[in-house]
Structure formats: C-alpha cells, structure tokens
C-alpha cells in the first residue's frame, strides 16, 4: 500500500469510508423496526393506540372489559391490557389530567408515602419519565409508571402503568418490553434529561432559604411575645419573597419550566402566609393567629410539593 500512488491511496481511503457508512446504514436498517412506523410489525403482535403513543402488544395480551383501577390514578380514556386475569398483571394506559406541574397527578402523589425515583427514557420519537418499583400503601401490586409529557398545555401527558401482583414478575417484564418498544405519535418534545447546572443553581437558592427559615423558626419557637413572633415572621416573609425572585431569575430547561413556576408561586404564597401571621401576632387575636398559623403550615406544604415535583422530573437523588 505504501508504494501505491497518492491518487490510488486516496481512492482506497474513500472506498473504506463509503464501506463503513454502508455497513452502518445496513446495520441500522437491519435492527428491529419500531412498532407502528410501518406495517411490518412482528408476527404475533398488534398495535394499540393509547393517547400519544402506539404500543405493540403480543396477541395474547387482551383488552380487559373494565379498566383496572389504580389508587389515585384517574385517567382519561383508560385502557387495560392484560395477558390473563387483569387483576393480577397488566398494563393500564391513558391520559393524565392536564395543567399540572408534576408528571404524576397530584391525586396519585397523595397516595404515596415515598416520592418515587425518576429516570429518563429515550425513544425514537422522544423521551419519557420512568418510575419503577412504586409502592402504594394498601395496594399490593408492584407498579412501574411511564409518563410521556406533551408540549400542549391543554392536554395532559400520556401515562402507562405496568402492574403485577407477587409472583407475576414475568408479566411485569413483558409489560416493560411493550413499553420499551413504544412509538410516540405527533408530539414534539423537549429534552427531559435533567440539567446538572440548573439543578445546582436551584439547590443553592433553596438551601439558603432553608437555612434562614430554620433559624427564624427556632427563634419563633422560643419567642415569648406575639410581637416578637411578628417581627420574625416579617423577616421570614421577606426571605421567601427574595427567594421567589431568585428562583424566577434562573433560566430553566423547558422540561423544568412548569415545576419552577410552581415553586415560585408556592414561595410567594408562603410569603403571604407569614405576612398574615405577623399581622395576626401584632393584633394578639388568638382566632386570627390560629388561622394564620394554619395558613403558614399549608403554604409550607405547598413548597414541599413543588420541590417534590423536581424530584419527579429527575432532579432528585440519583
């Protein structure tokens, strides 16, 4: 080769490049085709449409007459597919209620004792969140949830739930395979993968607030006079307002925009609640004061709920 003329060597190099490209293309085409894109789906399976996705399900996975209900999950257009008795194992799909910052419905989150761990899945047409091994108190099924967000604000995300009772792990794995081969239909998505830089900024802002809040609340605890509590509550309200401004100033990834707006709103609500507490403390009216305290507690739960949303979009513990 070394003795070949320069022109010949260039031709050989070009030939190798072309061969490599052809090999890659051949390998890509030879891979199993995604379901629903063409009519060449695998034998023994059929395509089922659920909200914004197409699922290729084995023939023996049949549609259940009555949708299987999962506590807290109220889906639009629910569909249940099961390989046998729908009560033991299967797949529930449908559309979640729209207008929520969290990928999972608030009614469902209320049933959980632990915030589920989120992962991001990548499909040909987009991405989805996965929550595996979800446990609902009082519901003895293993639950894996998959949420395909939508860019539309009017409609909710597509939610798929694989469930299985103890001893039905094979059916659960089969359900996971069905999900793994889903095809997204007609929805353009943003990147769902969490942005570490954004997460760091948010953590810094929230951490600073938390430290200040804790110190002020301890002082409130030991404060002997309502006037003292009022002063501290005013300080905490100011800190919450400042944090809300800082949060709003961070530029979020598109996928985290709704969660950030929710957190900023929760912080402002908490600021108002502490302002009301300060006002009630200054008047020294016990009934008003108790109402303001309840409002503070409620507002702080709102902040916690907004922070949980970040865990549900991948900014929680890895």
């Amino acid at each position: 080769m070394a003795r070949l003329p320069v022109g010949t060597r260039a031709i050989a190099a070009a030939l190798l490049v072309v061969v490599a490209i052809l090999g890659y293309l051949a390998g890509h085409r030879g891979a199993p085709a995604p379901v629903g894109v063409s009519s060449s789906s695998a034998a023994g399976s059929r395509v089922v449409s659920v909200a914004d996705v197409l699922l290729e399900v084995p023939q023996h996975w049949l549609r259940a007459g009555a949708p299987q209900s999962i506590p807290g999950l109220a889906l639009e257009g629910p569909l249940t597919l099961a390989p046998g008795a729908a009560s033991t194992a299967g797949l529930v799909g449908g559309r979640s209620p729209g207008g929520q910052a969290s990928p999972l419905p608030a009614s469902f989150l209320r049933t959980l004792s632990i915030v589920p761990h989120a992962e991001v899945l990548t499909f040909l047409g987009g991405q989805a969140y996965a929550y595996t091994g979800v446990r609902i108190p009082g519901y003895d099924r293993t639950l894996n949830l998959y949420v395909v967000p939508t860019t539309s604000e009017s409609t909710g995300p597509t939610l798929l739930a694989c469930y299985a009772a103890n001893g039905f792990a094979a059916q659960l794995a089969q359900c996971e395979q069905i999900v793994a081969r889903l095809t997204l239909v007609g929805s353009t998505q943003s990147d769902l993968a969490p942005d570490p830089r954004y997460g760091g900024q948010l953590r810094g802002v929230v951490g600073a607030l938390d430290g200040e809040r804790l110190a002020l609340r301890r002082q409130m605890r030991v404060s002997a006079t309502p006037a003292g509590v009022g002063v501290l509550a005013t300080k905490l309200a100011a800190a919450l307002g400042k944090t809300a401004t800082s949060v709003a100033a961070i530029e979020p990834p598109i996928a985290a925009g709704a969660a950030q707006a929710s957190l900023a709103a929760a912080l402002l609500a908490a600021r108002s609640a502490y302002q009301a507490l300060a006002s009630a403390a200054s008047t020294e009216q016990l009934a008003t004061y108790d109402l303001a305290l309840a409002r503070v507690e409620h507002a702080e739960h709102g902040i916690d709920a907004a922070l949980e949303t970040f865990a549900l979009i991948g900014y929680g513990r890895p």
């Binding site: 080769m1 003795r3 070949l4 030939l15 190798l16 061969v19 490599a20 052809l22 090999g23 890659y24 051949a26 390998g27 890509h28 030879g30 891979a31 199993p32 085709a33 992962e119 991001v120 899945l121 990548t122 499909f123 040909l124 991405q127 996965a130 794995a173 996971e176 999900v179 793994a180 081969r181 769902l192 942005d195 997460g199 760091g200 953590r203 951490g207 607030l209 938390d210 809040r213 609340r217 409130m220 605890r221 309502p226 509590v229 507490l277 016990l286 004061y289 305290l293 503070v296 702080e300 902040i303 916690d304 922070l307 949980e308 865990a311 991948g314 900014y315 929680g316 513990r317 890895p318």
Partner: protein, 197 residues
C-alpha cells in the same frame, strides 16, 4: 535532472508523440513531461494491496454494521430493555424544606398567660361570696393560709350575709372542681382558685 543536457539538444523530442515546444525541458514554463506508460496496469501491479483493501473493506463493513445494530434505539427496544438516560450528575435538589419547630406552642403560651392573669383577677373579684365559705368550713381542714389569705381582704368587702346557700357546699368538694380555665395557664397561683370554686 536532465537540465545539464537540455541546452545542448533543445529541440530533441523525448518521445515520438511529444509536442514540440520552444521552451527547453526544465524551463519554468515548459510543459510537464508526460506520464510514463506502464505496460502493467495498477490493478495488476499490487494484487496484495488489493487483497488488503478488500479485507479492510469487509472488516470495516462488518464492524460498522454491528455498531449500528448495537447502538440503534430500535435494537435496544427490540431487546426489551428500557433505553435509560444516564442519571443526573451532582447533588439533588432537596425534596422538601427541613422540618421546623412548631410556632404554636411558643406563641400561644404568651397571650394565653396574659389573658388568664386577667381572668384570675376577675375571678377574685367575682367570688367574694365564696371566700367566706372557705374560711368557715375549710379552715380547720386545710391549713394553707398562704394561698387563701390573698383572697381574704377582697372577700371582706362584700356582704357575707348574702351567702347562706354556700353552707350546702362545704369544703369537701374541692377535688372535683379541677376545671375551667387554668388548662394552659401553668401558673402556680392557679391552684388556689381551682380548689375554691
């Protein structure tokens, strides 16, 4: 290389078909010498190189084919494994605010304490009628002069005659009257009022 001889035979053609040119070979403007014709074609020359090239093509094709099969999302999906994206690097965003001590206990005690003091004072004023009863019946039983005595000057002013009825409520009742206000007042002085009521 032939520049030394060129001036001697400026018009001698080097090849039968070479065009005549006024410029000598080697002159900067002279045309390049024609490429020598090789009787054996380039393919025939390096058969080994050709085989090497073919082998390289085959290996490259197979390699890129396999890489495409492995990396293709569809291929991953075909294997039934979920195509997960690598987890976020770095510390997580906190799930919630740190649980803070409740405010209620600290604040509620203060106003209530003040309110109770006021009500106690009021009670001493409104209960002058009771005080004589205590003095009459409980005096031999309950010594506790210290706690009762503060009430005495107050009790002295109202008319004691107007209280015959309390005789029916002689002192044994004190324990059952644990009740009304002092739930959270916490003051030590409240005990005397509970027993007196």
């Amino acid at each position: 290389m032939s520049s030394a001889r060129a001036p001697r035979r400026p018009f001698a053609p080097r090849r039968p078909f070479a065009p005549r040119h006024p410029l000598a070979p080697g002159h900067p403007l002279a045309p390049a010498p024609p490429i020598a014709y090789r009787a054996r074609g380039p393919l025939a020359v390096d058969r080994g190189a050709l085989l090497l090239l073919a082998a390289a093509c085959a290996v490259l094709f197979a390699g890129s084919f396999l890489v495409a099969r492995v990396l293709s999302p569809a291929a991953q999906a075909g294997q039934g494994t979920l195509p997960r994206v690598a987890a976020q690097a770095g510390e997580p965003v906190p799930l919630s605010l740190t649980p803070a001590p409740a405010i209620r206990a600290g604040v509620a005690a203060a106003p209530k304490l003040q309110v109770k003091r006021v009500s106690r004072a009021a009670a001493t004023v409104t209960q002058p009628v009771v005080a004589p009863v205590i003095q009459r019946t409980a005096a031999p039983v309950v010594p506790a002069p210290a706690s009762v005595q503060p009430a005495a000057p107050v009790a002295a002013t109202p008319a004691p005659v107007a209280t015959p009825a309390p005789v029916a409520t002689p002192a044994p009742a004190p324990q059952t009257h644990s009740a009304p206000a002092p739930k959270s007042s916490g003051g030590g002085g409240a005990v005397s009022f509970e027993t007196s009521g």
